[in-house]
Assembly symmetry: C2
């Protein structure tokens, strides 16, 4: 059997209380890094500070991750992947594009607002444009393309530039990242989900209540 998270098989036991009691050291590092990267940015977050937040020494990070970039890469991919999977399932199955778009927007907003940290902020870190994050960027581009496809299929007939419309819906959804960062009294997630889904459907020119 693999060892339980809180009973490692080697190494000196850690001193302080841990922030995620039932998590592996690797998960604790990812959680601490997520908080710090979101709050201070990637470049401004030292590996020393990550380690200190977890309660280990700086050098011990390198047992779990090859380098600092690997930590960010793992966070990015874990963040976009569930939404991408959901989006591509929706686009491949749902015969009603407006209903599928509604579902995708609701799901995406729910994930962005429900995450323990506002990890959507990581998408905009300048470092993400560099090579170690190519896989994440490709996955995110696939998500954007799914938004384009669904928006184009759901758009009213008198609307043109459907690629731009899809990008605008994508941007509208991700604007909740900035709202979560900047607004101290953000509306509750369910309310924001309703507002953003309704806004997205008006944006593409589809009625909120589908004709039956």
């Amino acid at each position: 059997m693999s060892p339980s998270p809180s009973t490692p098989t080697a190494g000196r036991p850690r001193s302080g209380a841990r922030r995620l009691p039932d998590a592996t050291a690797r998960e604790e590092i990812l959680d601490a890094a997520a908080e710090l990267f979101v709050r201070r940015g990637y470049a401004a977050t030292s590996t020393r500070l990550i380690a200190e937040t977890v309660g280990i020494r700086q050098a011990s990070l390198y047992y779990h991750f090859a380098n600092k970039e690997q930590i960010l890469a793992e966070l990015l991919e874990a963040t976009v992947r569930p939404t991408l999977t959901h989006a591509e399932e929706l686009a491949g199955q749902d015969p009603d594009p407006a209903a599928a778009l509604h579902d995708l927007v609701k799901y995406d907003v729910g994930v962005l607002l429900g995450a323990r940290w506002n990890v959507g902020i990581l998408y905009a870190l300048p470092e993400v444009a560099t090579e170690p994050f190519t896989r994440f960027r490709r996955e995110r581009e696939r998500l954007r393309l799914t938004y384009r496809t669904l928006a184009a299929a759901a758009a009213a007939a008198d609307i043109d530039d459907t690629d731009i419309i899809g990008d605008l819906v994508f941007g509208l959804v991700e604007s909740v990242i900035e709202m979560r960062r900047e607004l101290p009294d953000l509306a509750p997630p369910e309310k924001l989900q309703r507002a953003v889904t309704a806004a997205a459907l008006r944006l593409v020119g589809a009625a909120t209540n589908r004709p039956g």
Copy 2:
């Protein structure tokens, strides 16, 4: 008379060709910093690299700016101020809220896409949350409030949560920042201005062609 930009009254003459021939050294520093902060982020941009880009030595920056933060603060405030001025004029004068919102969205998108560098990216730098940038944050918050006011006044009667609607229009407009960063073949500015203004009016529930 004050000295011409290209004939300073003291100091060793600079060696290489300058990037902005008719600008003061101060303006050249701001321009180089804007490009580098946008491309690599604030923390990852060293004062050495800024100086090298301008064609001076690292220490010479400190004749023109007290520290690195001051350079970013000046860039941020110069970026938001024209749009804020325009927005508050519109909100105070225009009797037709949908027309005013249309005008503001068009102006804002035009500024974001027309700037020499994609300086809207600077808004999202994590460092902006710290103290030296408080004045910028206040000005940006006033811009957001103007969007809320105009969107609420322009919104169709059957739409509620008008504050959220205003924030979503604000987010929709600023999503062109990410589009400019991520899309290699971005639509021309005029086309994007038309698409975003039309999308914003649909989002608030106002018809693109005003009744009358």
